[in-house]
Amino acid sequence: MTNSIGDLAEAEAFLVIGSNTTEQHPIIGLELRGAVRRGARLILADPRRIDLARYATLYLRHRPGTDIALLNGLAHIILKEGLEDREFISQRTEGFEAWREVVEGYTPERVREITGVEVDDLYAAARIYATSKPAALLYAMGITQHTSGHQNVLACANLALLTGNLGLPGGGVNPLRGQNNVQGACDVGALYNVFPGYQGVMDEEARGKFEEAWGVRLSGQPGLTVVEMFNAAHEGKVRGMYIMGENVVLSDPHSRHVQEALEALDFLVVQEIFLSETAELADVVLPASSFAEKEGTFTNTERRVQRLRQAIPPVGESKADWEIICEVAKRMEGVDPVQWEYNHPSEIMEEIARLTPIYGGISYQRLEDGGLQWPCPDGDHPGTPILHVGRFTRGLGHFSPVEQIPPDEEPDEEYPLILTTGRVLEHWHTGTMTRRVPGLEWLVPEERIRMNPFDAAKRGIEDGDWARITSRRGEVEARVEITEECAPGVVFMTFHFAEAAANLLTNPALDPVAKIPELKVCAVQVERCKD
């Protein structure tokens, strides 16, 4: 997030797109509900009529995979009506004219054709967003999990630049990060192309710094991303894998392919708290401690680094992930054990701070109360609640022209429906944790394929009937829930349930830049099961 959760309360308007906020980021959802009650206006754009629609001033139901057309269409109207922030554009941005030419083409009529959103609603949304200041834009995986994911993100940023909604409280472009520490994992370099602090592996100066600190030569060649790792394993190019706490068999697209890839490996080690579907395939399983049994830090979606503290001793003989990694490293051939001697996670944070400018001022001592938001370059820096105040990191904010591109897979005769996936409030991800909480499991015990009454009637399916849902990659059976929440032509499933794993169906096609698979759109057919 460019801004902080706390300053959302200052927004006069919200544009929420591709985020099921009240179910997936419930406490941020409360901030939105509260702001609406105090009079802020909220525009929700989502293919599904999610809970937040009840609080929305205006709800736009666009077709899955048409976000760019919608966002460009709103920009088109803002320009046509002269509602842009000219001062901000001239002083703080570049590339406006080239971008403007692209947006010219997104007339309301054409956008209605592509997205299915009525012209009047497009005008109303554009006016609300452009005439309320500050206005905050929020998005989540509904924007990123597409083959056009990174362009979708740029289209969001363009809209904020156009209306001068960056660098001020209550504004901003605010991606809501899913997992508790996905932000932190990226920050400290658990990515194929960057060292900690987003310092490129191809950057010689950065590499030199890490080579000196770690006492070894390092590769300047970007590595493989998750989905590419599985492809490489299939092809026999990757022979060994080390997986720390991810249940990839259920969470990644095209599960069968993932499972085959893991089975093809010569050696797989999995560090986990439960024998997950992924751990089942391992040669060695190392028992990890849960978050309640260890010390450390997490970084939340607003870049706030916070302290995790140990409440109970490790369960059984389990060990914290950091201890296990050190133990393995020390046993590897040719490793200097001094590099892997840490008495406490605070010493690891000291090393992170030394090598990572955005975390430079972070120490356990300073995290005692409330945490710190990066960038926090030195020990006296108070942290940064709002990014881009006064200037952008790169100087000027850049308008990036982006065009609507269709999803990788579109409905056809054989697979006439669009499947979009997500999660529910009560469960988490692949269910490894929440499905072992009896109360949560009781509330939501099984998968339901959600579908519109029209599509259900056409197939002779009644509420609660068992149905088979099929894509080019696999098939799954589950009961159907008939609901107006889904538009005709769109069905919804979660990926919490191993017995009806939606990711057997999903499309692993990647966004070429961000390498995100298209989990939000794939073509499927649904038919009633005989009994």
Binding site: N180, C186, V284, V315, R436
Partner: protein, 349 residues
């Protein structure tokens, strides 16, 4: 906003304009008993226990709804105030069970605290024998109307904090009760099971059923492990088990609020299916092993693959659930020990 000077019980108190007398007294360390007031909720003026006298004003005034003003002289206790409070508490007790020792709220109950302060007498009033059925429909918490003091905190919490208004005070007089929308079983209402109301109930009327197995003996301040909001919470423990969670009111992210997963999703921690020792696959089944054996095997196999096929033949997946320190170490492991950048995690999923 300006500072205002007033006198409470003879003590000179500075308070910001706009504060209530109850708040001003609280920050000056002067205790005024109250059951329906809460710093996170709008003033309500329902329980009348916080009554005070103000010099020059006739009658008694609820300090939770009276704003401070310059030069005010306030008394929080007098024989009149004390006797009214005593009567109010005796009436509340007459309608309840009084079986404190078996109540899940024992020792954290605010009625007990208020009673200790005003010292009510036994048996001056007799209420109707409370016989409301319990609402146990929710998997996590119970509503026992027989212990309810009708402070309305749960209703206001759901409305003002959760913005849902799933609860209301229904019916009138003696019949008044807390009720989910349409008086249906709680779990079938629009309730989102966040437990915010349970956390605010000052007595044992709404309680987490886990509390029936005993009170926690310690708590640890930490962070929720589910979503990217990163709410602050306390893990409540009893020996080596996590038996509850409460929101951290000081955490700037959530200010004490939690969702259903953060508040009630802790049973997995001590779950019997937790992995408790390393496992090595022999044939198609796993065999338990020592750490030494497992670690040696992992290091040996990875070293072999690296030697035979080069570092690029190994890929490492970090975790968006693990800590920053752990993710840092595993990328250091991939880059410095294995020797390639095949390191990623499910950031995009």
């Amino acid at each position: 906003m300006g500072e205002i000077t007033l006198k409470i019980d003879g003590k000179t108190v500075e308070a910001e304009e706009g504060l209530t007398l109850l708040q001003a007294a609280g920050s000056a360390g002067i205790y005024i008993p109250a059951l329906c007031a809460d710093g996170d909720l709008e003033p309500y003026g329902g329980c009348r226990l916080c009554i005070v006298e103000v010099e020059g004003w006739a009658g008694l005034h609820a300090s939770c709804t009276t704003k401070v003003s310059e030069g005010m002289v306030v008394r929080t206790t007098s024989s009149l105030i004390d006797s009214v409070r005593r009567t109010l508490v005796e009436l509340l007790m007459a309608n309840g069970h009084g079986d404190c020792l078996t109540c899940p709220a024992n020792q954290r109950c605010e009625l007990q605290k208020v009673a200790a302060y005003v010292m009510p007498q036994e048996g001056r009033f007799r209420g109707v024998e409370p016989a409301h059925p319990w609402d146990e429909s929710n998997p996590f918490f119970t509503l026992d109307m027989n212990r309810c003091i009708l402070c309305g905190k749960c209703v206001r919490t759901c409305d003002e904090i959760q913005f849902l208004h799933a609860l209301d005070l229904a019916y009138r007089g003696y019949e008044t009760k807390v009720s989910p929308d349409f008086d249906q079983p709680w779990v079938e209402s629009i309730c989102e099971n966040c437990g915010q109301c349970e956390a605010k109930c000052p007595v044992g009327a709404i309680y987490e059923r886990a509390r029936l197995e005993g009170a926690p003996s310690a708590e640890t301040r930490t962070i929720c492990a589910y979503c990217g909001v990163g709410c602050g919470l306390y893990l409540l423990t009893r020996g080596e088990r996590v038996v509850g969670v409460r929101g951290d009111p000081e955490n700037p992210v959530n200010e004490g609020r939690l969702c259903v997963k953060g508040r009630f999703g802790y049973d997995f921690i001590n779950h019997p299916e937790r992995l408790t020792s390393p496992l090595i696959k022999e044939g198609s089944r796993f065999v338990e092993s020592t750490w030494e054996e497992a670690l040696d095997l992992v290091a040996r196999r990875l070293s072999e693959i690296k030697k035979e096929h080069g570092p690029e033949a190994i890929a490492v997946l970090a975790s968006a659930k693990a800590t920053n320190e752990e993710n840092y170490l595993i990328q250091k492991f991939a880059r410095a020990v294995i020797g390639c950048n095949n390191i990623d995690h499910c950031a995009r999923l």
